[in-house]
Subunit: 194 residues, 2 copies
């Protein structure tokens, strides 16, 4: 069985978008390991941003994440925020990707997130022993990078301007949804009352 994307295929946007949308367990029908090994950190971050774009087009919050095996560079989990899509009060990009990966040893993996992690996700990243986290946007949010470093994670900032522009647009369009996603509906109610 020859997959669609092999070592001679181009790493263009349509290929990365197909990877973002394909269920993780089905990725071998889309690309072989030669293609995967050509993907750079910036490419994995772009896949996280394309997951954020998918969520945005569904009416959700535009935050995505991808987890790769550090040795093989294969994608072992990915996902996006599902506050709206699953009526889910805390499923952010990171929690979505970790849920998708299942019960694996995260100390052998790197997580790429399109937006700087919230307190819950940052806590989960060190509690599950991640080796490294790569953050695509510290412009719209930041704050837990120092805590992650203190907990022994390798932290890389690799800003993706498409993702930053998309999140800024979402925040302007749906400020209440953005606030709920960070601090819950109680914060929206307090904000409305004041």
């Amino acid at each position: 069985m020859t997959p669609l994307l092999t070592k001679d295929s181009q790493k263009h946007e349509a290929a990365l978008r197909a990877i973002a949308h394909m269920p993780t367990r089905s990725l071998p029908v889309l690309m072989d390991s030669n293609f995967t090994q050509q993907l750079s950190d910036a490419d994995f971050m772009r896949i996280a941003v394309l997951l954020a774009e998918k969520s945005y087009l569904e009416g959700g919050c535009p935050i995505g994440a991808v987890i790769i095996d550090n040795e093989t560079r294969q994608i072992v989990g990915k996902g996006h925020n599902t506050l709206v899509q699953e009526d889910h009060p805390y499923n952010h990009g990171e929690t979505s990707a970790i849920r998708d990966a299942g019960r694996i040893d995260f100390s052998k993996t790197t997580l790429f997130t399109s937006l700087s992690p919230c307190d819950v996700c940052a806590t989960l990243l060190y509690m599950r022993g991640f080796a490294r986290v790569v953050i695509g946007d510290v412009t719209n949010a930041s704050g837990n990078e120092g805590m992650l470093l203190a907990k022994g994670l390798q932290v890389s900032i690799l800003e993706d301007q498409t993702g930053i522009a998309l999140y800024a647009r979402f925040r302007k369009e749906k400020p209440a949804q953005d606030l709920e996603d960070w601090k819950g509906l109680c914060a929206v109610h307090q904000d409305t009352a004041s």
Copy 2:
């Protein structure tokens, strides 16, 4: 439509077990509001423990949680750990109950958990603005009660001896599963290697 449990029904163990197992949205077919209003904090904690028991009998980690509306005392969410059942690397009792509740204002609710919350769940409790948390076991685990108090939550300890004995039994029977549930598979691998 008259439900099974009304104001004259007894609050015995079989009734509380049926409540634990019934899907939250279907609870009105099981009991009416008069029955619910007779339930004490200790009864809700017992329901959390019966959810822990359900998980234990499924081969999972015995931790359960129940969320009630502070005004009506109706159950708005509940669940148990699903590390094994859903191959879910972080779904604890608290996260399971919060997912079940969906996008509600948690500042008007109380969460009953059969075991003291881990760092991730404690962070989620304050990030979603819970008013109160009731903890059924600070014998097998503890440590985040002070942080929750500092974040403005009301914290009550209401130990349930059945739940404490069940968790101690599980920990003795499946120490690796217990360790994975707290600190991830990486901690199990480190433990095996040392």
